[in-house]
């Protein structure tokens, strides 16, 4: 009998499942990888075998052109890995295809969340609270000042500004995978049925979402239309294009950005944003701490983000926790 949980080991390049010689979200190419979702700091090309949801595999194929050794696992499905380890994929509510991975071995249960949120999202199924012994959580917005407002408020802000400037356009910077599609879907839900214009880099991912049954309404490519056409319209682009020369083709854009970081004024100013929209695909502070309480694991491991503060919270609430020093995880543009 080996020591409890000795079969799962956090290493700098990812979480190692020792008996199966498998890695979760490894930062470098490995023989066998379990991937939580398609964002670049979690999903990388070049693995011998990639186990992920069909949606995540489709996203990886589009972004990193990797389809070798793709092993799809549906939500709720369990696969048996070598060495007697079972892996079950559970919705994480982060982006299309995102999953928490429940790992079971010798009666011990470990969950790796990848990234997650607790708010409703029309583009993916909601996070499911699942009991476990070790809960390996993200902490991107792990500071008590992060409270994401209701998305309806942010949509109202956006539509108000649009109405106030009928001869301009509102240019929304949004992360190309997940955030952009969620913003578009939420605009539709808020009753905005006008065509929405897309930066070229967003097109394929939006089509992929549509192929997976997410209705985004009428989308048009900026490059196919004139300045005149786009007056009074919403244009969505990746954050990197916000202050780029590309935006000169737009009719006097009001610069908006959809990101949880927009809660901090100086962050918005750094990006020259005129209309900050506090919209995030990650759990905010209240949700991170609520989730830790609800999952109620014996131990919490904190992967990436502001781990110092979440660690402190766990200490204050007598919950066992440790921060993992993983390399290669970035703050996404969320």
């Amino acid at each position: 009998m080996s020591a409890p949980f000795s079969w799962i080991r956090p290493e700098p390049h990812g979480i190692h499942i020792v008996p199966a010689d498998c890695w979760v979200d490894p930062a470098r190419a490995v023989d066998k990888a379990l991937v939580t979702h398609g964002h670049a700091d979690h999903a990388r090309g070049g693995h011998g075998q990639t186990v992920a949801t069909p949606e995540t595999l489709a996203i990886m194929k589009l972004r990193y052109a990797t389809s070798d050794g793709a092993t799809p696992v549906h939500y709720g499905e369990t696969i048996r890995l070598p060495g007697g380890v079972d892996a079950t994929y559970i919705p994480a509510g982060h982006v299309l295809g995102s999953a928490q991975i429940l790992l079971e071995h010798a009666g011990e249960r470990v969950i790796v969340t990848g990234d997650y949120k607790r708010r409703a999202d029309p583009t993916c199924p909601p996070f499911q609270v699942t009991p476990c012994d070790i809960f390996i959580t993200e902490a991107t917005f792990g500071l008590p000042l992060f409270t994401h407002p209701p998305i309806e408020d942010e949509m109202a802000k956006l539509l108000d500004r649009l109405a106030a400037h009928p001869d301009r356009c509102v240019l929304v910077g949004a992360y190309a995978l997940g955030k952009a599609q969620r913003v578009i879907a939420e605009l539709r839900r808020a009753g905005h049925h006008e065509p929405i214009y897309l930066h070229g880099a967003m097109e394929k991912m939006c089509r992929l979402y549509e192929d997976h049954g997410v209705d985004l309404g009428e989308l048009r490519l900026v490059s196919d239309y004139s300045k005149e056409d786009m007056r009074g319209a919403i244009v969505v682009c990746p954050p990197s294009a916000l202050n780029d020369r590309w935006s000169r083709r737009l009719p006097d854009p009001v610069t908006a950005m959809a990101s949880g970081w927009m809660r901090v004024r100086q962050r918005a100013r750094q990006r020259n944003v005129e209309l900050p929209l506090v919209i995030s695909d990650h759990a905010d502070w209240g949700e991170l701490t609520r989730t830790i309480r609800e999952v109620d694991a014996q131990e919490n491991w904190i992967t990436h983000g502001r781990e110092d503060a979440l660690l402190r919270w766990c200490q204050l609430h007598q919950r066992r926790a440790r921060a993992l020093a993983l390399v290669g995880y970035d703050d996404e543009d969320d």
Binding site: L143, P144, Q266, R267, A268, R269, E274
Partner: protein, 530 residues
């Protein structure tokens, strides 16, 4: 307060200067007295509430949130007021915001003790934007990219008056500037400042850089290494103003009853000595003057050891006559004539430098470091005295900086726009032979001298080469060399190295240079000229 908070938010997110002017002007037109006057004060010079400081806000928060979580949040945001506005628990009752005037009254009435109960009550009456505006207003530092000049320009634009006139009256008036609004918005007579010892904005110089001027058109004088001051006497009172218009009269009491007639004089405040320009120059080093700066009360010993005087450059007004329209030559002649009526004990005149030609002038400048003088000033002979910096009138031609190679030791997150970057650098020199196990000792700090691109690279270097973290500070692995430029170096007890640099900035980042080739403390010490 809602309108003020909305204005602040809009200004935070507005890039264009014209749009900022429009937003402020619109607010000033639409808002009644005294709210708009208080708002104008907050946006320009800032308001001062002695009991409400950042430390009071910190104390308030530490009763409501774990101190570690507070510090982590504060470090992330980079601004105490904003952090507190975000972390303040939402009250149960709907907001019932006070007016700006009411807010100012409440803040003024707070004491160090009552602030702990009164400020929370005020915060509970506001939403997050309101709390941000309140705390910014209360701590007197808006730092939202609005200069005092911009606020005054917006005022001028709002009511169709000239900004020069606004500047002229400004320093004679107090917030909420009732007389100023009565004049500009209400069409009443302009405020009377004739008999008030008010500050007049300084005329400033551009760096000369590569310009070559014709000495037939320009006069040259030394740029003395003290602090630029304006001495104003009116209505039997003398005041001394610093370059930014701060009243520093209390720091230099010996100069308050030596100006025998009404006047506004521009000069350099110095301490008697024989460092700058030798015996003949008659002035001590800046380091000596520094002993006198920043004090609210001055001991007899200080007055005796570091006697201050003013070396005059210019005259703006005298005995009711405004000389600012005169050419510099005319004002200089008037100043020379005035010298006979000023006591030599506390005044002299800045002597002109008489070069044969521009090359000779360059040679004279070359010697300014040995003379311990900051450099030269070049003034167009026909220049009127105009507030601010105008191209082509006055130039400063500072001596070349000193250079030394230092090693990056610590980096700290910046504030404001730079709050997500490690942008403040502490660097050191070797206290002996690095190959024989010498240590680095910190010798200075710099925040400037690099481009935005370089800042990104430096930030990445710091993050990737961190060996220790102390709150917002990271200790690096001491692998990067900076070529640091600085104006001079002095003995200092404040630093372990015993040295302090003036105006250090990053001159070049030596990505290529191994750290053991950086300079030693001895090399830096050899540059002291006190």
């Amino acid at each position: 307060m809602e309108e003020f908070a909305a204005l602040i938010d809009a200004l935070v997110y507005t890039r264009s200067r014209n749009e900022k002017l429009r937003l402020i002007a619109e607010y000033l037109r639409a808002t009644p007295d005294p709210d708009r006057g208080w708002a104008l004060a907050a946006l320009s010079d800032g308001l001062d509430f002695p009991a409400v400081k950042s430390s009071a806000i910190r104390n308030l928060m530490k009763d409501r949130i774990d101190p570690v979580l507070w510090t982590l949040s504060r470090d992330f945001v980079g601004d105490t007021a904003e952090t507190a506005s975000l972390l303040w628990p939402a009250p149960d009752d709907p907001p019932s915001p006070p007016t700006v005037g009411e807010t100012v009254d409440l803040l003024s009435a707070m004491t160090r003790k009552s602030v702990q109960t009164e400020l929370p009550r005020l915060l509970d009456r506001l939403d997050a934007s309101g709390r941000y505006a309140l705390l910014k207003l209360a701590t007197g530092a808006m730092r939202i990219g609005i200069s005092s000049r911009l606020a005054k320009t917006a005022f001028a634009q709002a009511f169709g008056v000239s900004v020069e006139e606004v500047e002229e009256y400004w320093h004679g008036l107090q917030p909420p500037y009732a007389e100023l609004f009565a004049w500009a918005a209400g069409g009443e007579a302009p405020p009377d400042i004739e008999n008030l010892p008010t500050f007049r904005p300084f005329m400033l110089a551009h760096p000369l850089e590569d310009t070559v001027v014709d000495l037939a058109d320009y006069a040259a004088e030394w740029k003395w290494d003290g602090i630029r001051v304006q001495l104003v006497r009116a209505g039997d009172e003398t005041r001394i103003y610093s370059r930014s218009g701060d009243d520093i009269s209390a720091t230099f009491p010996e100069l308050l009853d030596v100006l025998p007639f009404p006047a506004v004089l521009d000069g350099e405040l110095l301490v008697r000595g024989s460092v700058q320009g030798g015996e003949e120059g008659g002035a001590a080093s800046f380091n000596a003057l520094q002993q006198r700066l920043g004090r609210k009360t001055v001991s007899k010993k200080m007055l005796a050891e570091y006697p201050a005087f003013v070396r005059l450059y210019d005259v703006l007004l005298t005995e009711g006559e405004d000389l600012r329209e005169l050419p510099w030559t005319g004002r200089r002649a008037r100043l020379e004539a005035l010298m006979k009526r000023l006591p030599q004990s506390h005044f002299d005149i800045s002597q002109l430098v008489q070069p044969r030609d521009f090359d000779h002038l360059a040679e004279i400048r070359g010697g300014s470091r040995d003379e311990a003088i900051e450099g030269l000033m070049l003034k167009r002979r026909d220049s009127p005295y105009i507030a601010g910096r105008r191209v082509g009138y006055w130039y400063k031609w500072k001596r070349d900086p000193l250079l030394v190679d230092c090693v990056l030791m610590y980096a700290q997150r910046g504030s404001g726009k730079r709050s997500s970057f490690y942008s403040d650098y502490t660097f050191g020199c070797w206290d002996g032979d690095p190959d024989a196990g010498a240590d680095l000792l910190p010798v200075g700090k710099a925040y400037s001298g690099f481009t935005d691109e370089e800042l990104k690279k430096l930030d990445r270097h710091v993050r990737q080469n961190t060996v220790n973290r102390f709150g917002p500070v990271r200790e690096t692995d001491k692998s990067l060399v900076f070529e640091v430029a600085f104006d001079s170096v002095h003995e200092s007890k404040r630093h372990k190295s015993g040295l302090a640099m003036r105006f250090p900035r990053i001159h070049r980042i030596r990505w290529d240079k191994p750290p053991h080739e950086a300079d030693r403390i001895d090399a830096l010490r050899a540059l002291i000229r006190d």
